[in-house]
């Protein structure tokens, strides 16, 4: 059996010609320029999305077929088509609850990041505080958040506030660690360089430690994007009158499983959008990360 010469590559070829401008208009010179490799990997190769999307499609079809052929009741496992239909039919309901959860996620994430930032900076500047607080913080991470959630409802009520606090409680820890780590792990050689150049303590902080800590801070932010969604939903499970977590719980109790799935479907993009937002800000603030000599606009003029 001889493999066909590259007919299977038809998936990659047309997409590639979308990325590089068509050489037809510009003639030879433009064709040569468009042959240059694209800068960086901003958009990513289309293949990166193609394969997971294809896998999702296969899984969905398999799911649909299984449910129909095995006649699984809808209160056990609804078919994807039914979930989609539910979402379409009841979209104002889902939209409303998504909005509630989104607000909690944003507010809780922001609060957690703020607390983490302040704690991290304080612990960096006051060694005593770090020595006293750091072990406690680590120990506190062994307390399951579910255990705290009911208390938060007692203290902060049934509504918005308890969810915001719940999200903030999960978010602040990784941010604190990231900030403290980033500030403390500045390259000692660079600190010595700044010292020989006569930098003041303020310059040492703002022109060296803070920029050096930003990459670490952003990895903390990425974690917080994921955690704050989890926190808000847990808060809603424990006691709420609105939000996707509440919707899931009440639908589940009435065996409307399709609605549970639809709620999960609404939840997923929240985390993704937050992650994307963090990545965007990071790319804008830290353009120097992930650069290599290939990312030069100029032909290397060495020597």
């Amino acid at each position: 059996m001889t493999p066909e010469p590259r007919t299977a590559s038809s998936t990659a070829e047309p997409v590639a010609s979308i990325r590089t401008p068509a050489p037809a208009a510009g003639g030879a010179a433009q064709a040569r320029r468009s042959a240059a490799p694209p800068r960086g990997s901003l958009g990513g190769r289309p293949g990166r999305w193609l394969y997971p999307l294809a896998l999702i499609a296969v899984l969905l079809i398999g799911w649909e077929a299984t449910v129909r052929l095995a006649a699984i009741p809808r209160f056990v496992l609804p078919a994807p088509s039914l979930i989609g239909l539910t979402l379409v039919e009841k979209w104002p309901v889902f939209l409303g609850h998504t909005g509630v959860t989104l607000l909690e996620v944003f507010a809780g994430g922001a609060l957690g990041i703020l607390v983490g930032l302040v704690l991290g900076v304080l612990m960096f500047f006051y060694g005593v505080l770090e020595k006293a607080l750091y072990p406690l913080l680590i120990a506190s991470q062994n307390v399951p958040v579910f255990a705290v959630a009911p208390l938060l409802v007692v203290w902060f009520g049934y509504g918005f506030a308890s969810k915001v606090v719940m999200a903030a409680v999960i978010v602040f820890f990784p941010v604190t660690v990231a900030v403290l780590d980033g500030l403390a792990r500045t390259d000692p050689d660079l600190i010595r360089l700044f010292r020989t150049m006569g930098a003041s303590p303020g310059q040492m902080l703002w022109k060296l430690r803070v920029p050096a800590a930003l990459p670490s801070f952003f990895s903390g932010l990425r974690l917080s994007a994921i955690y704050s969604t989890i926190g808000a939903v847990i808060g809603e499970w424990v006691g709420a009158g609105a939000g996707l977590g509440y919707l899931m719980l009440s639908a589940n109790a009435q065996l409307r499983v399709a609605e549970v799935f639809a709620a999960i479907l609404c939840l997923t993009p929240i985390g993704l959008v937050l992650l994307g937002l963090v990545a965007l800000v990071e790319r804008w603030l830290l353009p120097w990360q992930r650069l290599t000599p290939e990312d030069s606009d100029l032909v290397n003029l060495e020597p």
């Binding site: 150049m197 006569g198 920029p211 003029l301 020597p303």
Partner: protein, 257 residues
């Protein structure tokens, strides 16, 4: 304190230094005494690991010596010695462009200094063939370009003592020669006192007014060669060739010992 020593711009007096390792302490510098007159250009040659970078670290005040002392213009160094130090690693700030990296020293001094030195920075960037790369980040530059950037940054610090640790190590022979000329021109113009560490005997001969040869670890000075021939004539005289031969013999002799 006698008048002779206080005339030196930079002075090392019987410097000793040991480092601790798991096996115990091992000496790195075994009593280095060296005085640089103002405006002198001293090249330091020596085998790898002999303590050359350690010597420069101590002179720059980054590490304390175990014994001996450093004097600058006859006095112990103050909080901010007039020294610009280009370390063996280029130590560029990855979040700053080439342009913002070379102007770091003046910027830390004052915003006014930064503005004042921008024309000089532009001139050096051009001479060092880095124009067009000003807005590049260090990660986008080659090793040799990063080294040139670090040298410009050091020159823009406006200190009258320069410590240069293998500043041309990552460069090809041609670029190296061109940068030798530029460095000499800057040195003639501003008359700094320079201590330059190198592995390249020809480089030491091309640049120095005096060459100091350091031994293998623990480092001490094994020989000193004054160079009286003007820089321009050095390539053409047979004396230079003989000097290179003698220096290599000293280096190799120490290696055998």
């Amino acid at each position: 304190m006698n008048a002779g020593t206080s005339a030196a711009a930079l002075e090392a007096v019987a410097l000793t230094k040991s480092y601790a390792s798991r096996a115990g302490t091992y000496p790195v510098l075994a009593g280095v005494t060296l005085a640089l007159a103002p405006g002198e250009f001293v090249g330091v040659l020596g085998p790898s690991g002999g303590g050359k970078s350690t010597l420069l670290n101590i002179l720059a005040g980054l590490e304390p010596p175990d014994g001996g002392q450093v004097r600058i213009h006859g006095r112990p160094p103050g909080a901010r010695p007039p020294i610009a130090y280009m370390q063996q690693k280029d130590l560029l700030l990855p979040w700053r462009t080439l342009w913002d990296n070379v102007l770091l020293g003046p910027e830390l001094e004052s915003p006014h200094d930064r503005v004042r030195l921008e024309p000089k920075a532009r001139e050096l960037v051009r001479q060092f063939r880095l124009e067009g790369f000003a807005d590049h980040y260090p990660a986008q530059l080659s090793g040799g370009m990063r080294q040139r950037t670090a040298l410009i940054r050091t020159l823009l610090c406006e200190r009258n003592i320069l410590l240069l640790d293998e500043p041309f190590g990552a460069l090809d022979a041609l670029t190296r020669r061109r940068l030798h000329r530029h460095l000499l021109r800057v040195w003639r113009e501003f008359g700094q006192t320079v201590l330059l560490v190198t592995h390249d005997v020809e480089e030491a001969i091309a640049l120095s007014t005096r060459i100091v040869v350091l031994s293998a670890r623990p480092g001490r000075i094994v020989d000193v060669f004054p160079l009286d021939v003007p820089h321009e004539l050095r390539e053409r005289t047979g004396e230079t060739l003989r000097l290179k031969q003698r220096i290599l013999e000293v280096l190799e002799g120490d290696d055998d010992a």
